[in-house]
Homo-oligomer: 102 residues x 2
């Protein structure tokens, strides 16, 4: 198994005026998550991989992130939300209900 | 379920001289796959979503594409390979052994 969890942050930039994850700080948050995973020692083969992705197609509900293999979709506002996804989902295997994309 | 299959093409561009999927035509092939899925009517909610992604971390084995939720990793050379992944894996649910990343 290349990675246990593969996490994709939508980092897509759309035209001015259209809702998009990039404008909501997605790239910066992806970088934060990647660093946090590294700090926790969760990265590497068989661990957690954090990726940027093109448009995930849920622009109105963004910023969004999807966790595979489960295919669980989350939205987030700040680093605390990302910390909770890391701690609850990626470390303990629990879905973070309050951040689920409806 | 937002999508039945979520397919990520690594489209990362690395520095000159380093192996990377972008230099092997990944973006163009991602565009081809997206169009092919649309032509076959497999796109849309509950269907197949084709995405570009940042570095998937398997640069030496690229170009690579990963299919979720299974987490099956493929490499490809030409459109025929992509057609086979679409027909066999995404339409019929069969893994294409010959294209698996070892």
């Amino acid at each position: 198994m290349f990675c246990k969890y593969h996490v994709f942050f939508c980092c897509n930039q759309r035209e001015a005026g259209e809702p998009c994850c990039a404008r909501l700080g997605a790239q910066k948050m992806r970088d934060y998550a990647k660093q946090r995973i590294k700090t926790l020692g969760l990265n590497g083969e068989g661990g957690v991989r954090i990726n940027s992705a093109g448009c995930l197609g849920r622009c109105e509900k963004g910023p969004v992130v999807v966790v595979y293999p489960e295919g669980v979709w989350y939205t987030w506002i700040d680093e605390e939300d990302i910390d909770e996804i890391i701690e609850q989902h990626l470390q303990q295997g629990n879905v973070v209900e309050r951040l689920l994309v409806k």
